[in-house]
């Protein structure tokens, strides 16, 4: 048996914990760079603010409904997410952190206990300890747990916890109430084709022969169909080692066009990505870099490019990753464009000792010691105290626009909430 715990309107809920005056008021949170709406409180949904809507398009409604606007405060959300998971794990230790606001739980080790009561206690405790409201869906598969969670959230009588029913007739009724595009893993890509085949609800998909789903789509879709029938095909992925890629990217606060500015951004992403790798005791075998202009500015010339290279042997050493990232970046850069975003992606990630490469030239052990020292100093003295000379010492002009960011209440001594 699995459960999915999903934080309700997570970003908006985080803001409310520390700004209780927002309780009962519509709240929206904007994406990186204040571009568009990425989170809405229930009240904001009720007055018709859509997910992903560009900020400038909702200004009139924001004024009319006195909607509170916040820039995304990922430092705060990450910390609150960590607290939610810690609290859940006191009750149910087998968890998979699926996203910043969703956690899958494996309930099988707790079989014999009153699982629904346990989930209700967990939910109430998370609310009290962290202030974050959550919903819980319980079902025999992850796909059904996700679906049950939707029902827990949308149905007032459930009080935030919904157990997918056991009886066949009851199951059919529930599956029929869920549109195919709302099934986890189906999305818009497949729902159009499924609609064309007359598959409109979760029930329709669960009744399609598995072989037919596999032939018409792929094995992932077949697993989804089987899971809707209650056949588990996916287990908890509780192992961070399964993480395949690591991406560091960000939109610029204003568009940049010169190579010095673009390269600073790429350098900074490369350095942070390498740091993160070392934090996880991992090495990457492949590096790619991407840049692109603002595709919404149709009045400006458009360009986007990406390039990549092998890292042989796999490495987490900043100078190696940084110099290769800059090499790729230089190849990508074209003058005469206004760049909106740049990023670095590391993949083919491995853990543990490296195989010594035939053509290995660097002294990896020496690199490891050097990097370990750099990370320790940066942890002690503040991020960015020591860094390779390619990243800027000036305040970065390309940093995000965050005009409405609330304080980092839980991670900065000088931004703590104040009592009056």
């Amino acid at each position: 048996m699995y459960a999915l715990v999903d934080c309700n309107n997570f970003y908006a809920s985080c803001e409310r914990v520390f700004q209780p005056a927002l309780e009962g008021r519509p709240v929206i949170v904007l994406s990186n760079n204040d571009g568009c709406v990425v989170a809405r409180s229930q009240e904001a949904k009720d007055v018709g603010i859509a997910m992903g809507e560009p900020f400038f398009k909702c200004r009139e409604r924001i004024r009319r409904h006195r909607i509170a606007v916040r820039s995304s405060n990922y430092t705060l959300y990450e910390d609150m997410s960590r607290r939610v998971v810690q609290t859940i794990m006191r009750f149910i230790p087998d968890v998979e952190i699926y996203s910043i606001d969703e956690v899958f739980l494996d309930l099988d080790p707790l079989v014999g206990r009153d699982l629904e009561a346990l989930c209700r206690t967990t939910r109430a405790t998370v609310r009290q300890w962290t202030g974050i409201p959550v919903s819980v869906g319980i079902a025999p598969t992850k796909t059904l747990a996700k679906l049950a969670n939707r029902i827990a959230k949308k149905t007032p009588g459930t009080d935030g916890v919904y157990w997918f029913p056991a009886g066949e007739a009851e199951q059919a009724r529930v599956l029929k109430s869920v549109a195919i595009e709302d099934v986890w893993g189906i999305g818009r890509r497949w729902s159009a084709r499924l609609h064309a085949l007359g598959v409109r609800t979760a029930l329709d998909l669960s009744r399609m022969p598995a072989s037919e789903v596999r032939r018409g789509f792929n094995i992932v879709a077949m697993h989804t169909a089987l899971e809707l029938r209650g056949v588990p095909c996916q287990e908890l992925e509780d192992d961070p080692q399964l993480r395949q890629t690591l991406v560091r990217s960000r939109s610029f606060g204003r568009m940049v066009s010169s190579w010095p500015e673009l390269s600073e951004a790429i350098a900074s992403h490369a350095i942070r990505a390498a740091e993160k790798l070392r934090h996880e005791n991992a090495r990457a075998g492949h590096l790619s870099v991407f840049v692109h202009t603002n595709r919404f500015r149709e009045d400006l010339p458009q360009y986007g490019g990406s390039g990549s290279c092998e890292l042989l042997p796999a490495t987490s050493t900043t100078p190696v990753i940084l110099s290769k990232a800059l090499e790729i970046g230089q190849r990508l850069w074209r003058s005469g464009f206004q760049y909106k975003k740049a990023g670095v992606m590391l993949s083919e990630i491995t853990r543990g000792p490296v195989q010594a490469g035939l053509f290995e030239q660097r002294d990896e052990q020496r690199d490891d010691r050097l990097m370990g020292t750099m990370d320790r100093i940066n942890r002690k003295m503040g991020s960015g105290t020591l860094r390779p000379a390619a990243s800027s010492f000036k305040p970065q002009r390309w940093a995000m626009a965050q005009d409405h960011r609330s304080p980092r209440y839980t991670t900065r001594w000088d931004e703590l909430p104040r009592t009056r």
């Binding site: 209780p20 609290t87 699926y98 300890w129 399964l242 839980t410 703590l416 104040r418 009592t419």
Partner: protein, 140 residues
């Protein structure tokens, strides 16, 4: 997309060695056997890390309880508020520190300095308890 679980640890920058001897080549100190751990303030101040938040005190209403303007409050949301405890409450959408007392009309938020009227907590007031203050850190 999956994010890796981070270990649920909390570290502190302030760690004092319990016992430490100078390192002198050739003479291992007998005291070295007793160096086992360092004192971590978090252990003493924080019982439930997931539920503990730091707030900064403002104003003078709790001077009598030894809470000064600018003091650091350790607030544990996992504790059930009981009469006599110092709590952080939300009054009119703002945080305030007061002592939870039992007044003639039921639970009340009481200041500990003259000139601050008691605030009743009832079904028709917009007052909620946010957390229980477990420590006050004051710079002498």
């Amino acid at each position: 997309m999956k994010t890796p679980a981070r270990p649920a640890t909390q570290t502190t920058a302030i760690a004092r060695p319990l016992l430490a001897s100078r390192v002198e080549a050739g003479f291992p100190s007998p005291a070295d056997d007793y160096v086992e751990r360092t004192l971590d303030l978090n252990e003493e101040l924080i019982t439930h890390p997931a539920a503990t938040f730091f707030l900064r005190a403002g104003g003078r209403s709790m001077l009598g309880a030894g809470i000064h303007d600018g003091d650091l409050l350790v607030v544990d949301r996992s504790k059930t508020p009981e009469t006599g405890m110092v709590v952080v409450a939300v009054v009119d959408g703002e945080f305030t520190v007061k002592r939870l007392t039992r007044g003639p009309d039921g639970p009340t938020l009481t200041a500990e300095h003259r000139g601050y009227p008691p605030i009743p907590i009832g079904p028709d007031t917009e007052v909620t308890i946010w957390g229980v203050v477990t420590w006050v850190l004051h710079r002498p």
